[in-house]
């Protein structure tokens, strides 16, 4: 079926071509006959070979969901594409094509062996998703920058690399460089690292001590010690930074689940003043600074209170939920055990009665026994369903209890948080009054003209008349109250929605479980019944 190679007419990867290939490469002999009889679904194919077919464009492969090995070598492919659906791919061969850039491999997370030999690639790139990569063949390409090697450091499983016949392989210390930067590599250009670097060493530099198992690795390391150290240091720094960020994110996530994020400090207080220009201006009034200071301290203390209370409550809710899930799990387990026992008992009896039926010769007797059998089956059905219904009732009761408790808990939490928030508001009111007092007295002073301090211009602009200053102070107050209210509202809505979601999920899970179990029971019973019926038919036929 192979087209002659020299016909340079590009071919399209169409259904026919794929079917033909699948059929040819599928099972042979008896199994092949069966396969032909039934047809093979593309998604059942595990390995596909499409070489020497003058394929220009990868296409129509989306059905091969379970493909493990794909060979597309010796074609005229110019672009890696159409492989997105092949997530289970382990081995991909794209050698001897006309590919210029590495791309389109981002979904192939299971890939272990990738061959891009003899292409036109000039940069190693876009391989980040291939975390399991072990073998990479990039020989006979156009890679010309040593820095491409450093990119390969991220593949922890990479053991075999082929880069021969690239511009960089011409470099004098090509092998040394690779050995130094990829210390876990075992094979380079089809050779074990120890051996070939040993031979290189003779030509490269003075013979060094040969006591350790891989002296040349050492040599390579020594040669690039400085740059590698720097690289390592940078990598470590990056790693540490990443870890730090991760830890911070986790911490925040934890606070978020407790619904009290950013309450363990002055964040809320700061946000109150962030958009409040009047408030900021007013803080320059004499005496307001100290006032603000004490106000902030008190405010932060309450915030921290809320925060700690929130964490504690979260812990409580978590233990509550854990106990609940554990109890439910235990109950289900116990119930399953009972069911299994019942089924085992039934099967024992059923098997013996089936064989008895097979051996029985008298037709009336057979009918009687079959009747008995089906009675047994329906009895089992009843028993299993009773068990299930019982469990449903029990779980319902438990779930309701849990629901009540968790709702109570949430209610209590909200109540307490609200009372703490009210304290915040009181503080704000208090501060507002004080501020107003100071402002008015300042205004009086300004009016009387015996104000000593120098006030910023923005602030001085406010002291035009009483209304303006009162309005300004009032506006600042309103903004603060709004911020507090918003935070409170956010907390309340979020916890409420969490609560509803949780309850919904529990109910839904339970319903799903019940459905599944009922389906399972029915399926089993149906199977048993049909088996019995088949026996009946067979007997009558006999």
């Amino acid at each position: 079926m192979n087209q002659p190679c020299n016909s340079m007419e590009p071919r399209v990867m169409d259904d026919d071509m794929l079917k033909l290939a699948v059929g040819d490469q599928g099972p042979q002999e008896e199994a092949g006959q069966l396969a032909k009889q039934e047809g093979i679904l593309f998604k059942d194919v595990l390995s596909l070979q499409l070489d020497f077919r003058n394929i220009l464009r990868i296409d129509n492969l989306w059905q091969f969901e379970n493909l493990r090995k794909l060979q597309l070598d010796n074609n005229i492919i110019e672009k890696i594409e159409g492989l997105e659906n092949l997530a289970h791919l382990v081995w991909l061969d794209l050698s001897f094509n006309n590919i210029e850039t590495i791309e389109g491999l981002d979904t192939l997370v299971n890939l272990e062996d990738l061959s891009l030999f003899n292409n036109r690639i000039s940069k190693i790139d876009s391989l980040d998703a291939l975390v399991k990569l072990q073998v990479l063949s990039l020989g006979n390409n156009r890679i010309d920058n040593m820095m491409n090697i450093i990119y390969l450091r991220r593949f922890k499983c990479l053991r075999t690399l082929s880069l021969s016949r690239n511009p960089i392989s011409e470099a004098e210390d090509y092998k040394m460089f690779i050995c130094a930067y990829l210390p876990d590599l075992m094979y380079l250009d089809y050779r074990r690292i120890d051996d070939h670097t040993a031979s290189v060493s003779l030509s490269v530099s003075q013979p060094c001590e040969t006591d350790s198992s891989s002296p040349q690795k050492k040599l390579a390391e020594a040669k690039h010690q400085y740059s590698i150290d720097e690289l390592k240091h940078q990598e470590n720094l990056m790693q540490a930074q990443l870890e730090d960020e991760q830890a911070q994110r986790e911490e925040l996530e934890k606070h978020k689940t407790a619904f009290v994020e950013h309450l363990n400090g002055s964040f809320l207080f700061d946000s109150m003043y962030a958009e409040d220009s009047e408030g900021n201006n007013l803080s320059y009034l004499p005496g307001v600074g100290e006032l603000l200071e004490t106000y902030k301290d008190k405010f932060v203390i309450i915030c921290v209170n809320i925060f700690e209370y929130g964490l504690k409550q979260q812990e409580k809710r978590k233990t509550e939920l854990d106990t609940f899930s554990e109890c439910v799990r235990e109950a289900i387990q116990e119930n399953q055990e009972q069911g299994k026992r019942k089924i085992a008992k039934f099967e024992e009896k059923h098997l013996s009665s089936l064989s008895a039926i097979r051996e029985e010769l008298e037709l009336p007797n057979i009918e009687k026994m079959i009747l008995e059998c089906s009675a047994d089956i329906s009895e089992l059905f009843d028993a299993l369903m009773t068990l299930e219904m019982q469990l449903v009732e029990q779980l319902e009761e438990t779930i309701n209890m849990f629901e009540r408790n968790i709702v109570d808990m949430v209610g209590l939490f909200i109540e307490n948080v609200q009372s703490l928030m009210a304290q915040c508001r009181d503080l704000e009111n208090h501060h507002h009054e004080k501020l107003l007092e100071i402002s008015i007295s300042t205004l009086e002073k300004i009016v009387e003209g015996d104000l000593d301090e120098d006030l910023p211009n923005d602030l001085r602009a406010l002291f035009v008349d009483k209304d303006t200053i009162v309005n300004a102070v009032g506006a600042s107050h309103d903004i603060h109250l709004l911020k507090i209210d918003n935070r409170e509202d956010e907390l309340v809505t979020r916890i409420n929605s969490w609560c509803t979601r949780l309850i919904d999920r529990i109910h839904k899970d339970e319903i799903m479980r019940n459905r599944k179990r009922v389906k399972e029971i029915n399926q089993y019973i149906d199977h048993m019944q049909s088996e019995l019926d088949n026996l009946e038919c067979g007997d009558i036929l006999d």
Binding site: E30, E38, A331, Q336, G339, L384, T398
Partner: protein, 831 residues
């Protein structure tokens, strides 16, 4: 027996009721309080009762037709030793003392019954009771404690009632006779038991006293059946976890409360009736039992054993009834009074009132007011020293000094006339034999042979070449009942245990990469081959192979086979898969391999009815014939493999049996590498080392020879040599050495010449007599010649060597002498 049975039945009924009641109560309790700390069940369970019944039915009681008469006629006295038939003078004396004592006693206490002092023995000879006791320590560790002794006596002897229940017997036989005939009255019982107890170190006494009717007749009907008394079970501390908050409630009980109540009422009524009936019954029984209050209460003579506290860590005094072997407190109301008591050293009369049975008695035998002793000088004869001093004052008290005035104060009890008591373990069956081994090369540790079942079990230590752990078998023939356990970690295939019966073989595995845990093969009868080619093995046909697997966590449950059954004969393969965690049913698949031909004559490869499957979660790809075909082919291959495995296992058993037989025949022992005597290799090495050491030592001794010693000895010791002396010493030493060398050379020279002369002589002699010589003489001559030549040559070599070495040796000595620190003066001269 009959009575006992009745009793048990009654109890059984009562228990059953009680159990029912308890269950009822428990249910009600449970309804009200879902979780309740479970009470320890004290009542007997049904199964215990069944056990009990079984145990009781096993007891066989052979009631001899004749009454257990134990009279003098039945005893053969002809073979008894002389001490049984006569009294020694000392014994005569003792009897006189006893008579005297008895007379005084009857004089002083005329209202008390005569003492039981010296009944006749089996030879009609009066013997004092204390001498009838023969303290003996039995050689059996089982008979070291009082309870086992008492149990033995009560089990071993048959009880014979006293001829006159109101009087002590006229005869008291020796314990040897009693043991021989295995029967006796209470005095015989207690004498034997007391002898054994004293022998094992107890402070035990025979008691002559009065017992209740039950005690005297060994009537245990009023006792609790010992089999119903359960041994105290170790109370299991059930760590009852606190019920969690959301533990589900038990299913609602849908039974009608009213009906239950009615039922309970009915039950109660029935129970009440039953109880009433029982009570009536019991009362009737009690009536029957107690109908006759014993007319002779308090007059029935009995003998038992008293054990006093102190010795063998006995915390308090107690009685042992020798008939039953039970122990009683001294307060027990079965014991109605004590007349006298004795051990092998002395005899005491009870002077305390027994109106309140034995409850008020104080067993302080050293108190002469309460206990009148017969012989003075035994350890308990006096309460304390002060009282002894006061004895003069107490002289007025007649009772106190009764019979003692004219006694030799130091008189002590003569030795027992009874022969050594021996209990021979005759008639015992060997039930099992255990043999322990050590240092065996086949690692055999213990061999256990059960004689009743004929089952032999060998236990091995780790290290057997076949990794055997336990091998139990009845015969060494293959294909018989046998269980072999292995050290599975030492085996590549992880086999733990292989059980065989004539038709099956079961293997248990652990820790295999293919998760196989169990393989069971059943065989059919061996097909007789027409051509019985002896060399070829004829394996039995395999009918069925069952294999079970552990869960393989790497596979999803519905693809992980839990059990597969190859029905080889039916060409059927059954698979059962593991159950998924949240499921209660498991997938199943059954393959039927029938190579059939369809109507057109084509071979049918696969049809849907060749694979019947039940899938918990039906999947698309498994419905495909191709999939099923491949699965079936795979299973076919597996079946072949499994059959091969079974066959190999059979071979291995044969091999093991062969090996075991060889090992049993060879009995090789392992020798520790530290065992330098037996370990050949190390012995050789050690000897070589010793030899080397020895040679080394000799060499050292030689080098340390002091050439100056004989010359230094001539000079006064401890003084530093002067220069002149040193020079002289050196010269002397050297000239001496020179002389020595010359002597040696002369000696060799002389020998050499002598040999040469002798040879020449012989040659001359040969030349002269050559003609007349017999061939033997000639041979003799020739061999002499060659030997002489050899000797001459050697001597010559030695001489030459000596000549060569002598100057060197001389120089060496000179050199050495120069360097000798003792001749330091020399160096000064030459320096």
């Amino acid at each position: 027996m009959e009575v006992l049975r009745e009793k048990v039945e009654e109890e059984e009924e009562a228990e059953r009721e009680e159990a029912a009641e308890w269950a009822e109560w428990a249910r009600m309790e449970k309804m009200m309080r879902p979780v309740e700390v479970r009470k320890e069940e004290i009542t007997l369970k049904q199964e215990t009762l069944r056990d009990l019944e079984k145990k009781l039915s096993e007891i066989q009681i052979t009631v001899s037709a004749e009454l257990p008469a134990f009279t003098k006629d039945t005893i053969d006295i002809s073979k008894l030793p002389i001490s049984y038939k006569t009294n020694t003078p000392k014994e005569e004396h003792l009897l006189q003392v006893a008579d005297n004592f008895s007379r005084q006693y009857s004089h002083l206490c005329p209202d008390r019954v005569p003492l039981f002092l010296h009944p006749l023995n089996e030879c009609e000879v009066p013997k004092f009771v204390s001498t009838t006791l023969r303290p003996t320590l039995m050689p059996y560790p089982e008979l070291y404690n009082w309870d086992s002794c008492a149990q033995f006596v009560s089990d071993f002897l048959t009880m014979v009632p006293l001829p006159d229940p109101l009087k002590p017997p006229s005869h008291l036989y020796s314990s040897t006779t009693v043991l021989k005939y295995q029967k006796g009255n209470c005095f015989d019982f207690s004498t034997l038991l007391c002898s054994m107890l004293i022998g094992s170190g107890y402070d035990a006494y025979c008691v002559n006293g009065y017992g209740s009717l039950d005690l005297c007749h060994m009537d245990l009907t009023r006792e609790v059946c010992p089999l119903t008394v359960k041994p105290k079970e170790t109370i299991k501390k059930e760590e009852k976890v606190l019920p969690k908050k959301y533990t589900i409630k038990p299913p609602r009980d849908l039974c009608s409360r009213f009906e239950q109540e009615q039922e309970v009422k009915k039950q109660q009524e029935i129970r009440a009736q039953e109880k009433k009936r029982l009570r009536e019954e019991e009362e009737r029984l009690m009536e029957a039992e107690k109908a006759k209050p014993d007319a002779l209460h308090g007059l029935r003579v009995h003998s038992w054993v008293l054990v006093l506290s102190g010795k063998r860590e006995v915390p308090e005094n107690f009685f042992i009834d020798p008939f039953t072997g039970h122990s009683y407190s001294t307060q027990d109301e079965h014991f109605l009074g004590i007349e006298s008591l004795w051990n092998h050293k002395n005899y005491w009369i009870n002077m305390q009132d027994c109106w309140n049975c034995c409850k008020d008695l104080i067993f302080d035998l050293g108190d002469p007011v309460r206990w009148e002793y017969m012989l003075l000088g035994t350890d308990k004869s006096q309460l304390s020293l002060t009282e002894e001093d006061d004895s003069g004052i107490n002289d007025e008290d007649d009772v106190e000094n009764l019979g003692k005035e004219d006694e030799d104060k130091s008189f002590d009890m003569p030795h027992s006339w009874v022969e050594q008591i021996e209990i021979s373990p005759e008639g015992t069956n060997i039930l099992e034999i255990k043999e322990w081994y050590q240092n065996r090369e086949d690692m055999l540790e213990l061999k256990h042979i059960n004689k009743t079942t004929d089952l032999k079990t060998d236990y091995f230590k780790p290290g057997h070449p076949q990794a055997l752990r336990v091998h139990s078998y009845k015969s060494m023939q293959p294909e018989m009942d046998r269980v072999i356990e292995f050290y599975e970690t030492a085996r590549v295939d992880g086999l733990m245990k292989r059980e065989e019966t004539p038709r099956t073989m079961t293997e248990y595995y652990q820790g295999r990469p293919d998760f196989l845990s169990y393989r069971h093969a059943s065989f059919g009868p061996r097909v007789k081959k027409l051509t019985l080619s002896s060399a070829e093995s004829n394996p039995r046909p395999i009918v069925k192979i069952t294999e079970r697997f552990f869960r393989n966590p790497a596979k999803p449950a519905e693809e992980d086979v839990a059990e597969r059954v190859f029905l080889v004969a039916e060409e059927r393969i059954q698979l059962r898969y593991h159950c998924r965690e949240d499921h209660i049913t498991a997938s199943k698949r059954e393959f039927l391999r029938r190579t059939e031909v369809d109507s057109k004559g084509n071979k049918i490869i696969m049809t849907p009815d060749m694979c019947i499957s039940f899938e918990v979660e039906p999947m698309e790809h498994t419905k495909k014939l191709l999939y099923q075909y491949e699965a079936m082919m795979h299973l076919k291959r597996e079946e072949k493999l499994s059959r091969h495995q079974v066959w190999e296992s059979e071979l291995e058993v044969l091999e093991i049996l062969k090996l075991r037989e060889e090992e049993e025949a060879a009995h090789t022992l392992t020798i520790s590498i530290y065992d330098t005597k037996r370990n050949e290799k190390s012995k050789e090495y050690r000897e070589a080392m010793e030899r080397m050491m020895h040679e080394e030592h000799l060499r050292q001794v030689e080098t340390q020879l002091d050439y100056l010693a004989p010359f230094l000895a001539q000079l006064p010791p401890g003084e530093k040599l002067t220069c002149w002396q040193a020079v002289r010493l050196k010269d002397e030493c050297l000239s001496d050495f020179k002389q020595r060398l010359i002597n040696k050379a002369n000696l060799i020279q002389a020998r050499f010449e002598k040999e040469t002369q002798e040879l020449q002589k012989k040659q001359q002699w040969y030349q002269e007599n050559q003609v007349t010589l017999t061939p033997e003489d000639e041979d003799l001559y020739l061999s002499y010649c060659s030997q002489a030549m050899f000797r001459i040559r050697i001597l010559e070599q030695r001489l030459n060597r000596h000549k060569e070495l002598a100057p060197l040796k001389y120089l060496a000595l000179e050199e050495k002498l120069y360097k000798d620190p003792r001749l330091g003066e020399l160096q000064k001269i030459f320096a």
